[in-house]
């Protein structure tokens, strides 16, 4: 029977996916598959030795990405990917640590770590796929849900205001800040390459499509409808002031590379500097 089956054509990204882990758990219409593929392409094209790459995720739909990628990968607890990444990154200044997680994970339960990671200018890349709510748990309202958004815990519409993630990261000290929608795969890839090669805290927000638990409650039944909605509302504006990029229900979605600061010392730089000072001190003893 099996010898009659056609041999599957190998996908060029297969080597970067863990054998036996595909198919993934993501729903039809979800953009996480294509975003993951873009991340793989970006890592490939960055020229970095794959041994030097570590992928860290928290919990949630996006948090499953680490488990599919065939690098050193760590699926941690809810919200805690960033401190894990910092602990791992400082043990080797050449290590490239990439956090891939969702908006609920990074901006709500892990919000404290996001702002302090940015403040430290820790030498890590954070890719946040924002689907405006909690997908894995069934569509509860989250810190990126816009006012009036319908979710399972906001049956009358969200009563809160959302975080603008690029603005948050920038105001806390991130030295590379960008946003794309899941539709902007080519620009997203170029940005992720730059973010990975950036020295310091780089933050890339990807607006994703979640038809299952977001779209169908908000008149966007299909994944394509969400992407089409993004396309209509997208305004490309490199260098935009990230404190003026908030997303509303129907307003423009500003995308682009907003911030790139190259002359700020990173956490790793400063730790190594402290080592040089400490080693030169003659004092010893308790």
């Amino acid at each position: 029977m099996t010898d009659k089956l056609l041999k599957a054509v190998e996908h060029p990204s297969d080597v970067f996916l863990r054998p036996g882990r595909i198919p993934h758990i993501w729903c039809p219409g979800c953009s996480l598959g294509s975003v993951t593929n873009v991340i793989i392409e970006a890592i490939k094209q960055s020229g970095i030795d794959s041994k030097k790459i570590s992928i860290i995720s928290g919990i949630g739909c996006t948090g499953r990405a680490a488990g599919y990628l065939n690098f050193d990968s760590f699926h941690t607890t809810h919200g805690r990917a960033i401190p894990f990444a910092i602990g791992l990154s400082v043990t080797d200044p050449e290590r490239k640590v990439i956090v891939i997680s969702g908006d609920g994970d990074l901006a709500s339960i892990g919000g404290n770590h996001l702002i302090h990671g940015a403040r430290r200018n820790a030498d890590i890349t954070v890719i946040c796929v924002n689907n405006f709510q909690y997908g894995m748990t069934g569509g509860q309202v989250g810190p990126t849900s816009y006012e009036g958004q319908f979710q399972t815990t906001a049956p009358y519409g969200n009563v809160e205001h959302p975080f603008d993630l690029p603005g948050l990261a920038y105001s806390c000290g991130a030295t590379f800040v960008a946003r794309w929608t899941a539709l902007d795969v080519r620009r997203m890839k170029e940005t992720i390459i730059e973010a990975i090669l950036h020295k310091g805290f780089s933050f890339v927000e990807i607006l994703g499509s979640c038809p299952t638990t977001y779209g169908r409650r908000n008149q966007l039944r299909e994944g394509l409808e969400i992407l089409e909605n993004f396309r209509k509302r997208t305004v490309l504006k490199h260098g935009a002031d990230p404190t003026k990029t908030e997303i509303s229900k129907d307003g423009p979605i500003i995308v682009g590379k907003f911030v790139e600061i190259k002359d700020k010392s990173t956490l790793t730089d400063n730790l190594l500097k402290v080592q040089r000072i400490a080693k030169a001190t003659k004092a010893r003893g308790l």
Partner: protein, 390 residues
């Protein structure tokens, strides 16, 4: 200018004799064990450990980071451990409470690291500057799920140094977070500390895989039930998750995989109990009454034994150096020798209930409790013995 390159002085082991505190001794013990990363958050009465590590780690090529909270602290040391560095944090009860979820992550992902808990009186903010021994059961059961832990309780400044090294050795050998259960009195009191030479210190490092990365199974255990540990950057494409996982490290969410994994995580400690359990027997040979104690309370207990013996009451002490796993068999044996066991502890009976379980009805078990804020006096312990034994 001389052409000779000065060899960098090795400052990891500060061999010598000192008069210092338990907190500093624990920090130096960590360095002697090879600790290179400390992630922490200030909390009384443990902060001196963080302060000392911030001064010492950069001298030996390590890093100190103060985090935004205890959750980040514990997670950061898990990350550093996967980077191949021995790592540690220090805290007190409230901080330990915050760490518990991720201590569970450390247990599930089998990540070696050490947590020092300099206990104070609780619950809640309780007695920040005063002694307590109230985190015994929290250490054992605080994180959700089923698992075994290792916890050690020093009772002198010297043991704060020595047992921190043992804690690192157990963490590396059995691949789990190990807790050092200190207390405020030990942390802050000063006495003699002897730091031996580097050669005299036994240091255990984690087993490394020897197989080819292409066929490597990161969670396939050896006969001792502990898998060798590859770290990031070695080409093994490490895969870890807090989800229930198979030998490949892949999440497999079913009852069979859960049973196989959890059984092994429990058994790797239970089946190696004899290697892990450390006890001190003091004047037990002829004892008719036994005290069981640990940490600072064991010192007061020894004082009570001197007083009792002057009065002709034959009392001895079993000191638990290893609190978890619990010394069930040794305590049952002791119960067969003595009719009465008094458990001296600064809490409302957290070790007493374990002793009651372990003696299997073979001896009377009495608790001698203080609720935090002060250590027992030998007289208090003696009067409790006299009150109960007539």
């Amino acid at each position: 200018m001389s052409e000779t390159i000065q060899k960098e002085e090795d400052r990891t082991v500060l061999t010598g004799e000192y008069f210092t505190t338990g907190n500093l001794a624990a920090a130096e013990g960590a360095l002697a064990a090879g600790c290179k990363f400390f992630g922490g958050y200030p909390i009384t009465p443990s902060s001196e450990i963080a302060e000392h590590m911030s001064y010492r780690l950069p001298q030996v090529g390590g890093h100190f980071l103060q985090f935004e909270d205890e959750i980040a602290s514990i997670v950061s040391i898990l990350g550093a451990s996967w980077g191949g560095w021995k790592s540690m944090t220090a805290t007190s009860g409230p901080g330990y409470s915050l760490m518990l979820e991720n201590i569970g992550l450390g247990i599930m992902t089998e990540t070696p690291c050490v947590i020092v808990n300099v206990q104070r009186g609780g619950p809640s903010t309780g007695l920040p500057t005063l002694v307590g021994q109230q985190d015994i059961q929290q250490t054992r059961w605080g994180s959700h799920g089923d698992y075994e832990v290792i916890a050690l309780a020093p009772n002198s400044v010297q043991e704060c140094f020595d047992l921190t090294i043992v804690a690192f050795n157990y963490a590396e050998k059995y691949r789990l977070p190990v807790t050092l259960l200190m207390d405020e009195t030990l942390g802050h009191m000063s006495e003699k500390l002897i730091i031996p030479t580097k050669d005299e210190i036994k240091v255990i490092n984690r087993k490394k895989p020897k197989d080819d990365p292409s066929i490597h199974l990161p969670y396939k255990a050896d006969d001792d039930l502990v898998p060798p540990m590859a770290t990031a950057g070695e080409g093994y494409r490490v895969m870890t998750t807090g989800l229930t996982h198979d030998e490949r490290g892949y999440p497999v969410l079913n009852a069979e995989t859960q049973e196989k994994l959890i059984r092994r995580l429990i058994d790797k400690i239970r089946k190696n109990k004899d290697d892990i359990i450390l006890l001190e027997e003091y004047k037990l040979e002829d004892a008719e009454i036994a005290l069981i104690s640990f940490g600072i309370s064991a010192r007061a207990s020894k004082g009570a034994i001197e007083l009792a013996r002057k009065k002709g009451i034959k009392v001895g002490l079993l000191r638990l150096i290893t609190i978890w796993p619990f010394a069930d068999e040794q305590i049952e044996k002791l119960a067969e020798q003595v009719g009465n066991i008094f458990v001296v502890e600064i809490n409302a009976g957290q070790v007493t209930r374990e002793v009651q379980r372990a003696v299997k009805g073979k001896a009377e078990v009495h608790g001698v409790f203080k609720y935090g804020g002060a250590i027992h006096t030998p007289e208090e312990i003696l009067s409790e013995i006299e009150r109960r034994i007539k």
